[in-house]
Symmetry: C2
Amino acid sequence: MRIIGEKLNGTLKKTGAAIQARDVKFIQELAQAQVQAGAYWLDVNAGTHPDREKEDFCWLIKTVQEVVDTPLCLDSASPEVLAAGLEIVKGQVLLNSTTAETEKAKAVIPLAAKYNCQLIGLTLVDTGMPATADERFEIAKQIVDQAKAAGIPAENIYIDPLVRAISAEPEQGRELLNATWLISHKLAPVNVVYGLSNISFGLPGRPLLNRTLLAMAMASGLGAAIMDPTDKHIMAVLRASEALLGQDEFCMNYMTAFRDGSLG
Amino acid sequence: MRIIGEKLNGTLKKTGAAIQARDVKFIQELAQAQVQAGAYWLDVNAGTHPDREKEDFCWLIKTVQEVVDTPLCLDSASPEVLAAGLEIVKGQVLLNSTTAETEKAKAVIPLAAKYNCQLIGLTLVDTGMPATADERFEIAKQIVDQAKAAGIPAENIYIDPLVRAISAEPEQGRELLNATWLISHKLAPVNVVYGLSNISFGLPGRPLLNRTLLAMAMASGLGAAIMDPTDKHIMAVLRASEALLGQDEFCMNYMTAFRDGSLG
């Protein structure tokens, strides 16, 4: 399982304030802590303020890359901001994200191809957000076809089937897991990625629901997750899941983490 | 998810001692505690002492049925002991268990048919224990065919695909989950049942591995589990899994359990 560290995100209160204050120490320590805890990529998102997102984004990238070599996941809703980040970033990038929406795909897929990025594709279309596993799978196929046509190899494509809250739609957990299975098995080597926390919106005990979903999603083929690797409780489920699924040779990572006390 | 409460088992040290001492209070409180915590069946197993198992078994059944109406899962390796229990037990029984082994099936399947039992079938054959999901599935089909031929309806059959330790065979988690999916989907309405704890034999942090497997197994189609319903940590994962899989209308059981503090 590849972890995308989620904490360098300007929409989070503390990170947003640190970006505005140009607090180098806070940002760099947050980067290092996530790498130390097992992040494979670091998501960088400068928040959503249109006047300053581009400048903040470039500052954030530079500041993080002064202290870690971990590849970045460049995260913005704006193709223009992503392009600015790609100009200055070092190393291969996971680009977050395109959709199957016409305008978005036209802007982002060529960027991903030009800079040889790995690419996250959200299963959104111009007519909206899919509800069923089959709808998600069909949209995933569209994104994969478009990305491949632009020269992006299948193994560099990460599909996010979009996690929806079970409090509002109780069938959405099952649909999500079915979509995870369909995309990861029928479109392999295309990968499946998501953040877990939307699943539990509106319910008590959200961390319990999120980490329980992680185990189920990994069993269904989830290959990467946007999450907090410094959260010992979710890391415990992640390491246990890897051991259970034969993704951890001789259970070594699990046993090491257990013994050094890094599992909650 | 149907819980088979596992604690009235004479191979457990305290329960075994209570059976020998004819400690009615201990046994009855253990029965009531498991029912209170959500057991759908209570497993009763009098231990393995050949000279006294039958007498102990009948005492255990009577003692438990004095205080609870919850159906029992009669658990013995001996068809003769099972037959003695069936003579005196009240209510429908889950019979634990047959295998596909010739002698065992010949003895137990007719008993299950005669007493209109639900029946657990372990995927064991005369030549040994299967390793792959496909082997388990083939043996499950044999058991289902034999049970149906004896007049037991498919929905009353519970297949145990046998949990093996990942410490010795790292691929056994994946094989088990695949077997769970195959049996529960391709042989529906046949059910899948197992105890979880063998998976983690030889590893540290066994409760974490066991409850993580529970989430994965439920997502794969596990319909019943032999477990301790008074363990708040595993119940937390069970209630969260039911909510995530749409098996808990409006997440009511999850929210009730969360609010009354019965989740660990």
